[in-house]
């Protein structure tokens, strides 16, 4: 089973403060542990939302707002992609991460093709395949 683990961005992060040496060392150790357990497939950190943008869809119009975003609790600072045998295993791994008090980590399961089998018609699947092919080969 594939999971995405979403890590929130705190205030300091949003203001572009880089993590301290100790914090970074602890996180590096945790990442190493994930890699050595064969769990981590990918993981990236995100720039502060000041470098991002929001695009809003309304009444046929698209309105673009530059970052930073004001809704602090929606901010994402980074993510992991993990391969685990179960949701419980993913939770067990999250519990071991060196996050400070007050952090709330979100765990989400990644859809795999089989999850769509019930609702996908062959036409839909083909259309989606074509689409993916175009984006991949661009």
């Amino acid at each position: 089973m594939r999971f995405m683990v979403l890590v929130p961005a705190d205030d300091g992060y949003e203001q572009g403060r880089m993590p301290g040496t100790e914090e970074l060392a602890a996180m590096t150790r945790f990442n190493e542990e994930l890699v050595k357990a064969g769990v981590m497939l990918a993981g990236e950190g995100l720039h502060p939302s000041a470098k991002g943008a929001k695009v809003r869809f309304e009444g046929g119009k698209r309105t673009v707002t530059d970052g930073p975003f004001t809704e602090a609790k929606e901010l994402i600072g980074g993510y992991w992609i993990w391969e685990c045998a179960s949701r419980d295993e993913a939770i067990e791994w999250i519990k071991r991460a060196p996050f400070p008090d007050g952090t709330e980590i979100q765990l989400r399961q990644v859809f795999e093709d089989e999850d769509f089998d019930a609702v996908m018609t062959p036409e839909l699947r083909e259309a989606q395949s074509r689409l993916r092919e175009q984006t991949e080969t661009r």
Binding site: K36, A37, L41, S86, E89, R132, E133
Partner: protein
């Protein structure tokens, strides 16, 4: 009995901790069978006390301490009851080892224990079947019934295989260590072979009703990823990992809606798993950077990469694939590799050139009853318009093939001619 949620949480902890626990205990007591028993006892203790007390903050350390304490108690009781001297001596020794503070664990990396355990479970004194079963059990965390299901044998067979394997290791006094430079090459090959055997059984099942069994591929991938983390300087470890990641990226395109096999040429490439392709190419890159001359797994990964990079069959760099197969054939001398090379030659230079090579291989004893030789021959004959001969080859291939969905595909191809 713990409630289902606690049970699942304990299972998850066990999956994460069991390998390191067994590896650490093996280092202490020097016997993998004793170590596994002690680890199992600790799990039973966890099942008894965690539902009440909650899962401890450091479950790995809790399990290790409990395994040792329970082991010591049990041994003391047994020694008190025992009358035979040689047995007491053996148990006394284990008791002493358990009862000492574990100084090694404080200075040494526990991960090195896991690496030592891999080399032990893949030791050449064991038969191939035994290596696979023991590795899946101790490093993959699979239960005996799971291994039995994976290899389509009875639970009794697997259980016996594992018991015998542990006894063989103990009788042969196989040391708990990473082999030295002089034998590392051969011993590492044995480890890689076990992992790839597991992967292949998932990727192209040799028997049974399913053409692929993705959970087995995942177990093998996880072992490969663990090994790459433990031996980052070994090119072939990355080569094997790259090969498996690239092949696994095609898994979901490899079966049709009815469970039938879909061959590479007919696969919907948009369904390939891009994350695994990326990871495979990255692992191949690491292998190529580390290697002087490319080893067999790295060469196979490089071939898989040619497919992964191609948008279609026609778009594939078949010339490069032929060259890579040349290298692989020179290295392995394997007739199966020669057969694959013939397929690549047919793609690069036309079916006639391929058929010539296949015909030269047809007399090879190892390939005579190999269903893929007949399949390839049928395929090339079909492309040359020699339908009657092609049909006969597909029927012969179906006869030789033990995997049910694959057999049906061959019969359908014969039928269509």
């Amino acid at each position: 009995m713990p409630d289902p949620a606690t049970q699942r949480a304990i299972d998850a902890v066990w999956r994460i901790e069991s390998t390191r626990l067994i590896a650490g205990l093996t280092r202490i007591v020097g016997d993998v069978a004793v170590a596994e028993d002690l680890a199992q006892d600790a799990l039973v203790a966890a099942l008894e006390s965690w539902p009440e007390s909650g899962i401890p903050d450091k479950p790995g350390a809790w399990l290790m301490a409990t395994a040792k304490r329970r082991g010591i108690d049990a041994l003391r009781r047994r020694i008190a009851l025992e009358r035979k001297h040689e047995l007491i001596a053996h148990e006394q020794r284990i008791l002493q080892q358990l009862d000492q503070p574990d100084l090694v664990a404080q200075v040494d990396d526990v991960e090195d224990d896991v690496l030592r355990l891999i080399f032990m479970t893949c030791h050449p004194v064991l038969s191939r079947d035994a290596r696979v079963a023991l590795t899946l059990r101790l490093l993959g965390g699979l239960s005996t019934p799971e291994i039995a299901r994976a290899f389509l044998v009875s639970e009794g067979t697997v259980a016996q295989r594992i018991v015998r394997a542990k006894r063989t290791l103990s009788e042969a006094r196989v040391p708990f260590e990473v082999p030295g430079r002089d034998e590392l090459g051969d011993r590492l090959s044995a480890v890689l072979e076990v992992i790839y055997l597991v992967f292949n059984e998932g990727y192209a099942a040799t028997g049974g009703e399913h053409w692929i069994r993705p959970p087995l591929c995942e177990d093998a991938l996880r072992l490969g990823r663990i090994l790459a983390g433990l031996m980052p300087g070994e090119p072939e470890v990355h080569g094997l990992l790259g090969l498996m990641e690239l092949q696994a990226s095609r898994l979901r395109a490899r079966v049709g809606p009815g469970g039938e096999p879909v061959l590479l040429a007919d696969q919907d490439r948009a369904r390939w798993d891009r994350l695994l392709v990326q990871r495979g190419l990255a692992a191949l890159g690491r292998a190529e950077k580390l290697a002087g001359a490319l080893g067999p797994y790295t060469l196979q990964a490089a071939i898989a990469a040619c497919h992964a990079r191609a948008r279609s069959v026609e778009d594939t760099d078949w010339l490069r694939i032929v060259a890579l197969y040349d290298g692989l054939a020179a290295l392995t001398g394997s007739p199966v590799v020669e057969l694959n090379r013939a397929v690549a030659v047919a793609m690069a230079f036309g079916p006639e050139a391929g058929l010539e090579l296949v015909d030269a291989l047809a007399g090879d004893r190892a390939l005579r009853d190999y269903h893929l030789l007949a399949t390839v021959r049928g395929d090339l004959l079909e492309r040359l318009g020699r339908d009657a001969e092609a049909r006969a080859e597909f029927l012969r291939a179906a006869d030789l093939c033990a995997n049910e969905p694959e057999r049906e595909l061959l019969l359908a191809r014969a039928e269509a001619l």
